[in-house]
Each structure stands twice: as C-alpha cells, then as structure tokens.
C-alpha cells in the first residue's frame, strides 16, 4: 500500500508491504542505515527514531503506521556539517564505543532533554531504560546527556 512520510525534511511516497517494519523501510527503502536493528523484541532501542515529536522504536512500528508522519532519524538530527548539542556531548564525553547503540541513544536523549531540560542523574538513567549499550557501562552516556542538557540550557 502507498504511504507518504516526511523523513528528515524530505517527503517520500512509497509503496510498501503492510508488514514492513518502519526500521526496514528507513534502512532498506530509503537507505538511511544510521538507524540500527539490535534486537527483535523491542528491548534494545538501537532503532529509536523520532516520529511526530516523540521517540518510537522503529522495529515495533509498521511503516504503514507512519503514513502521514514526520520522522527524524540520526542522519537528520542536525544540519549537514553541524552537530546537535547531544551529538557533541556524546563525542566530548566518550559516550560511545562501538557506536551501534549510539543513534538510538542520541535520539532518546534528545527527547529526554526536550521534555525535561534539567534532568537529574536518576532521571537520565530512568530515561535511558529502553536503550541497551553493551560497551560503556552507561557511565559516560549519562555524563554526556547531563552535559548536553546543560549545554542546551545555556
């Protein structure tokens, strides 16, 4: 069936099999491979993208459900050549190692800070509950999110 979605500001009209997962649509139909598949049970958060202002796990959303929506993926988070404060903070604070969970982590963190510009460490940790990282022990991710929130406030 035909769907229309705007991804990273660009409108797309595509014919999709209804069972196509949004993450596969983004990765394979649109070639936006920055969004990752890390599990198959909605647990890991590597596939998190922003849909109409809130984050979703794109492995637990059908492409057809995204019909008519505005989607932002890691590729569209900041204009070309620039970094969002969250991206910058992940870089400055060594908030990533292998990078596989990073897109989902950053997309989650952006929403977290939007909703709560001055989060406590506990609130950050709670807010990252849906994103698994196997490399960092979360220490530097939490540090990065707190730093990004501070940077966005000032």
């Amino acid at each position: 069936m035909k769907i229309q979605v705007t991804v990273n500001g660009k409108a797309h009209e595509k014919d999709v099999d209804p069972r196509t997962l949004l993450v596969h649509f983004l990765r394979e139909d649109l070639g936006l491979t920055g969004t990752k598949v890390g599990c198959d049970t909605s647990q890991c958060g590597a596939c998190v993208v922003n849909m109409d202002g809130t984050t979703v796990k794109s492995c637990t959303c059908l492409a057809v459900q995204a019909d008519g929506s505005q989607i932002t993926t890691i590729e569209g988070l900041s204009p070309k050549g620039e970094l969002d404060a969250v991206q910058e903070a992940f870089w400055n604070n060594h908030g990533l190692q292998c990078g596989y969970c990073t897109a989902g982590m950053i997309m989650t963190a952006v929403e977290l800070i939007d909703k709560n510009p001055n989060p406590t460490e506990d609130q950050v940790r709670e807010g990252l509950k849906g994103n698994i990282c196997r490399c960092t022990g979360y220490h530097n991710i939490v540090k990065a999110v707190l730093a990004a929130a501070e940077a966005k406030r000032s």
Binding site: Q97, R134, Y138
Partner: protein, 783 residues
C-alpha cells in the same frame, strides 16, 4: 609547557561518523544484485535428521536456492577449532557447517534459504520440513561426564573434549600439611555476550577470478581469511575479508562460524552477492556463549593466614562443538592464573573440557581470567571468615612484593611487573574502608544489610609471544605488525592488522604517531579491518591491541623517524650524527634554526629529487613486534551493596575500580574500558545467565528473558589508577579492555556475601536474583 599528546584524553577521531549515522556496519552493505540468506536452525538440542524436504521452500516466492548439509558436504570443509592445548587429548570432532545426520544443539544450522529479499528468505524457512528423531540431551558439563549421559560424538567417549592439567609446586603436600582448608563449588553460569550489533556477513564471489570477498563482523579479519580458506578451499590470496565498522564483540566475534561460511558457499554457488544477518534471537542460540564452568575448588593456608596452595577440578562446558578458541579459554587463560597477585607456592588446575548439547562456548570478555580471579578471591574471602581475619588484611599479608622486571609464579609463568599494595591502599583510602566497616556495623544493628567486597587481581593479557602461542597449541602467531606511510603532503596513514571495534585505536594509534613525530593527530589516518590493504595481524582480543599492535606501530614509527633524520642530515648538509629530533623538527645540533620538519622530509622522500646515496625513495616503514612476554595488569576493586532481606533485592551503592595498566595513551578511553568491563562483570553476578531446560531448550532465548544491564541498574563507577610500566614493551603499556570484567564479578559477589554473613548465608549460585537471595536467607533462618 605544551601538553603531551600521549597521555591526553582527547576525544575520539572515529566518533564523527558514529554520532551522525554515517558509519557502515556489515548489515549496511548493499551490493548490486545482492540476495539474502536465512538459516534454518534445529529446534531440538539433540536429534537425528531423518529427512529434509525443501521442495515447498524452493518453490516459494522470491526463493533463489535452498541448500542443506547434503549440498555442502564435501564442498565446505568442517569448521575448524584453532586452539588445541597440547598433552590434553583434545577431540577435535567434526563440525559440519550445515548439520548432516545429527543436530547437537538448539541452533545448529540445518538448511539455508537464499531469496531476493530478507522477508522472502525468512518466510520460506517455515516451509522446510525436517523429520527429526529426538535424542536425549545433556547440558550441564559435569552431568555430561557422568556414566549414562547422552553421548554427543562417537570420537569423544564420556563427552570428554579434553583433559588438561597444569601444576606447579607441591600442591598435595601443601594440602596435606595445611592448618586450614577452605572449599567451594562454584558455578560460572553460561553468559550470552550480546554485542549490540548482531553478527552479519556479505559474501561476493567473482567466478571469473576465483575470488571471494567477505564482509564479516569479525574481531580478526586475517584469522577469518585464514580459516575461511581452510573451510572453502579458496586460496588465501584470493580471499579478501573486510571487517568494516564492527559493533562490539567481547570475544563473540573472534570465532569463524558456520554461518559466514554458509553465506560464502551460497555466493559461490549462485555467483551473486549474498547477505546474511542474524536476528537477535538467532544470535542467542548461534553466537558463542561464555563461561560455563562447574568448579570444585579449594585453598590451603596456615593458621596465620599464609596461603600455601590452590587447586581445582573443573568441568568446562565447550557446547556441542569446539569453537575457534574454545579449548584455550578454561586452560591457558585460566589455569595458569591461580596465584593472582598473591605469593602462593603451589597451584594445580585439573580441567575437563566437556561436550554438551548447548551452544559452543568461547572467549567472552576476560575469558578464563574472570573465573580465575573469582576462584581465588572467593576462596580468600572464605578463608578470611574461617580465620577471623579482616579480608583486606588477609590479602595484604599474601600480596607479592613489588617487582619491576619479572616474577615467577608457581603455575609456571612470569609476571612482567607488579606493585600491588599501592593500588589497594588507594582504593581503601578512597572509600575510607574503616568508616565503611563502622557504617556496616551500625546498619546491622538496625537490621539493614550492607556488604563490602574488596578484591585484588592480576591478569594475563596482551596475547602474546608467538613461541608461547605455538607451545600452548594456539593455531597461529600472536605478533603484530604495522606500516607507517607518509604521503607527499606530509600526512600519514598507519596500516595495522589489529581490528578495533569500539576500543578507539583510531585515536590512540594516531596519538602515538603524533607523539613520536610531532605530526598533528588529525593528520594521521589509521587503516584497519580489511585484509586487502592491511598487513597480516592476529586481531583484537585478549587486551592485545595496544600492548602488541601499538608496540609494532611505535617500532615502525621510529624506523620512519630515523630515515627522515638521515634525509634531513643530507639536505641540511650536516653530519648524520649531528642531526637531532625535537618537537616535529630535525635540526643541526647547536643550530636550531637549521631545521627540517617531518612533513618536509615526507615531501622530499616522496619526490626523491635529492636522496642520500643508497637511500630508497619514500618515507614509510613496516615493523613486526612479537612480544617477549604477556603483560600483567593488576588492581584492586571495591563494591558496596545493600541487600533487602525481605525480597532479596540487591542494590550496588558504590563501585570503585583501581587499576594499573601502565602508561595510558588516552585516559578517557582507558576509563571507558573500565566502565564497560565492570558493568559486564556485574551482569554475571546480578542479572545474566543462560537457562536451559532438561531437554536443552534455551529458555532465555531473547532480550525479554535474558536480562542485560541497563542504565538505571548500576551507579557511576569511580576509577583510580596507578602506573607501573611493563618492562618489556616499547611503550610500557599493558591491557585494560578486560580488567573491569575480570575484577567486578568477584568484587560484587564478595560484597553480597559480606552483607549476608550475619544471616548465615555463605554462598549462592549466580546470577544472584532476588528469589535466590531470598531463598538462601530463608533456608538459613528456618534452620
């Protein structure tokens, strides 16, 4: 004074592509005409295959081909095991890529479908009909060796894969004359590594040239090429393995698996590119597991607390087949480390490798050393209780005194350097150990249970001297090499055979080049992961990338530097002996204004208009480094936990890691390695564990049942360091990739047992789930 780049925590140079979604992981690779493979796996742990009917699958929409073991038999050679410890009667049983007559674990590959897209391939799997006769199964390694246990391989009676013994000193005499003996049975449950990137392979076969290109999620592309050559029969020079961006490994991407070879087979049969990517659930079954020990261990000591001997009998699960490095893990990487940081005169490790109907076991972060540290540190804590000595004092009493250039231990190895007491003192001072003990006493009066765990460790890594590799049956070398090449513009590329996948060597290696040659760090590019453009190397595992790979690099850099110096002397018309180097410049001794930069030398060497007689053009060098010994990082860790006796819930309140990995190239990266390792080790104590039922069905087959650490489950980690250089490597560096996992499992476990001591609980099998803690308390309270 300018800050030296070596030792500064600069942000990583690989990050821009990773934080913008611009990196290319294997599953992101898309080739023209690419088809997709999906692998049918045995739902049974042990069964005879009577027949396989692939006709419906072959006729399904989009399906290009379906293959079974009958197709690969005689075309693909068996999947090899590459680590065969000597004198241990290893049964290297056949491991066919696709099972032919018998399946031996849930997840054993049975058939492969290749289709035009992922969805069609997976749909068609459901249409393959396999007629199985189910056979009895056994999972627990100790049970698998009992009489009457189901047998996996004809060639391996009693399921014994090997029997390896390492002994040093007179253990029997030490136990016979001991004042005190403490014993325990320790079960290291199976862990499922779960690197966030599932394994994936893209194979493309160029029929006209007989060439295979394989993108593979590998920690060691050169080993992958080597073994792929053995399995596929394609000559090694006609195989190119590309480990593009790799999303974590923790050991699970060392092995060469059946799946990547099946993918290669499909491409070779069809003459078109084929991609296979594991689903996470598939990874749970078909990517190696870690640990799986049943250990009977004991420690002998004098009444005064001098430890005299340690010994073990261990049943180490290998799973259904021997994985690439499987047998090396519970033997060489485990049984030689029973002294830890202590002066213990006699040790004996008696290790049985055992086949069982479960996923093959191989190296998982720490690989053998977390189990060794746990064994020693657990026994030390039991001994402390037995003797009524504070566990810290008992440790202090037994630490090996400071040594700077070699110390022989009973197990037969030689530690490189160690200074164990300062780091112990540092962590104890940091937490104020005495105050913590007082707080614990106060809390106990109110029925609150706080526990303090303190451990000391020494570990073996930086694998390792090739001669030793040969002697211990490792089917390869363990040296590294590097090529440093200056381009005409003065920019540099380093080509290395190690294969970082998150550890940050694109940054630390550039820091080394920058530090040695004064080139801006951003003018250095590190090339790795592709066998077609990197020199032979044995890969990234065993905390060896810096200790061995960077050592090779620094030797190559110094060769380049010397060539540039000689060229500078020629161009400055100075005597070679009079030209010196400082801060990126070669200058005539005493005349600093008469100088040439390294970049100028790069240009001049590349254009070669005016070279000294006999000097070759170009400014590059290659160096090989084979370490004379392993490196032995060490440290002391402290955990503080609270246990709620009402529900058995454990909360880690504080974690302090004190480590010594020698000089640090980039402290921010070092800390990151410690953080990650500590939380992985914590996972084993508190949450993680593969559970099989009696039929060999994996009950923890997805992330909904197998609990991985998440952000809200562990506190910030406090890191402290001392610096004790290794005497034998050119940078003095040791490894830091595994120390966290090596120390934290024992530290947190000891802390929990310390908390529960007033309740009479002395031991609980990991993971320490709330129910197990609650049951243990109840049993003691009820009795």
């Amino acid at each position: 004074m300018t800050t030296r780049i070596f030792g500064s925590g600069i942000r990583r140079r690989e990050d821009p592509r990773l934080i913008t979604g611009g990196a290319t992981y294997t599953d992101d690779v898309k080739l023209p005409g690419m088809a997709f493979a999906a692998i049918l796996r045995s739902p049974h742990a042990h069964a005879k295959i009577n027949s396989i009917d692939t006709s419906a699958a072959a006729a399904a929409p989009g399906v290009v081909a379906v293959y079974t073991g009958a197709d690969t038999d005689g075309v693909l050679n068996p999947i090899p095991c590459a680590w065969i410890p000597p004198d241990s009667d290893v049964k290297a049983v056949d491991h066919p890529a696709l099972a032919k007559d018998v399946v031996r674990y849930q997840g054993d590959a049975v058939a492969v479908v290749v289709a035009e897209n992922r969805y069609q391939a997976e749909d068609a799997l459901e249409l393959i009909k396999v007629d199985y006769s189910i056979l009895p199964a056994v999972v627990n390694p100790e049970a698998a060796m009992q009489p009457g246990a189901p047998q996996l391989h004809e060639d391996a009676p009693n399921n014994q894969a090997f029997h390896w013994v390492a002994a040093g000193g007179d253990t029997d005499a030490a136990f016979a004359s001991a004042d005190v003996i403490v014993k325990d049975t320790i079960v290291h449950q199976r862990l499922i590594p779960n690197a966030m990137e599932p394994r994936s392979a893209v194979a493309t076969w160029t029929e006209s040239m007989g060439e295979l290109t394989l993108w593979s999620t590998s920690q060691n592309p050169h080993i992958c090429r080597f073994l792929a050559s053995l399995v596929t029969g394609v000559a090694e020079h006609k195989i190119r393995v590309i480990a593009t961006e790799v999303g974590g490994g923790f050991g699970s991407k060392i092995p060469v698996y059946a799946d990547e070879m099946i993918t290669s087979f499909c491409s070779m049969q069809l003459g078109r590119p084929v991609k296979w990517t594991a689903t996470r659930s598939e990874g749970f079954q078909a990517t190696i597991h870690g640990r799986d020990h049943v250990e009977h261990v004991e420690m002998a000591a004098t009444r005064e607390g001098k430890i005299t001997a340690v010994r073990s009998v261990i049943y180490a699960g290998m799973g259904a087949y021997l994985s690439t490095a499987g047998p090396g893990v519970p033997t060489i990487l485990h049984g030689l480390m029973y002294c830890g940081p202590y002066d213990i005169a006699a040790t004996k490790a008696d290790i049985y490798g055992v086949f069982s109907n479960a996923t093959p076991v191989d190296a998982y972060r720490g690989a053998g050393r977390p189990e060794a540290t746990f064994l020693v540190e657990r026994l030390v804590d039991l001994l402390a209780v037995e003797l009524g000595i504070d566990p810290v004092e008992l440790r202090r009493k037994n630490l090996i005194p400071k040594f700077e250039d070699g110390h022989d231990v009973a197990s037969g190895i030689t530690y490189d350097s160690g200074d164990y007491e300062p780091i112990l003192n540092m962590v104890l001072g940091h937490v104020d150990y005495q105050a913590l003990r007082q707080e614990q006493a106060r809390m106990r009066e109110h029925g609150e249970y706080m526990g303090i765990g303190v451990t000391c460790y020494s570990e073996i890594c930086g694998l390792g001297p090739s001669q030793v590799a040969g002697a211990v049956g490792f089917g390869g070398g363990l040296w590294e090499s590097a090529i440093v090449r200056f381009h005409p513009t003065g920019k540099v590329n380093v080509y290395t055979g190690v294969s970082p996948h998150g550890q940050g060597e694109e940054t630390t290696f550039a820091q080394i080049v920058s530090d040695e040659l004064g080139v801006d760090v951003d003018d250095v590019g590190i090339v790795h992961g592709d066998t077609s453009n990197t020199p032979m190397g044995w890969g990234t595992y065993g905390s060896r990338t810096t200790a061995v790979g960077a050592a090779a690099l620094v030797l190559a850099v110094r060769k380049v530097k010397e060539k540039a110096r000689l060229l500078a002397a020629h161009l400055l018309e100075a005597a070679e002996a009079d030209v010196e180097y400082a801060d990126g410049k070669f200058f005539v001794k005493g005349s600093p204004d008469q100088s040439k930069t390294i970049q100028e030398m790069a240009t001049m060497a590349n254009v070669a208009w005016n070279m000294p007689e006999g000097m070759e053009p170009g400014l590059e060098a290659s160096a090989f480094y084979d370490p004379p010994n392993f490196v032995y990082p060490f440290g002391a860790h402290v955990a503080v936990v609270h246990v709620d006796p009402d529900n058995g819930h454990i909360e880690v309140k504080r974690y302090v890691a004190g480590d010594d990995c020698g000089p640090q190239i980039n402290p921010m990266i070092v800390e990151g390695q410690v953080h990650g390792g500590v939380v992985q080790g914590a996972g084993q104590v508190l949450w993680e564990g593969a559970v099989y039922d009696d039929n060999g069905q994996l009950l923890t087959g997805s992330m909904t049942d197998y609990a991985l650490p998440r952000a809200h489950m562990f506190p910030n980690i406090e890191t402290l360091f001392t610096v004790t250089p290794s005497p034998h490597n050119p940078l003095g560096v040791k490894g830091i990739g595994e120390t966290g996992a090596i120390a934290s499992t024992a530290t947190i476990y000891n802390a929990v047992m310390d908390a529960l001591r007033p309740l009479g609980v002395t031991g609980i099998d990991m993971p320490l789930t709330p129910e197990k803690v609650w049951q243990a308390i109840r049993e003691k309270q009820g009795s």
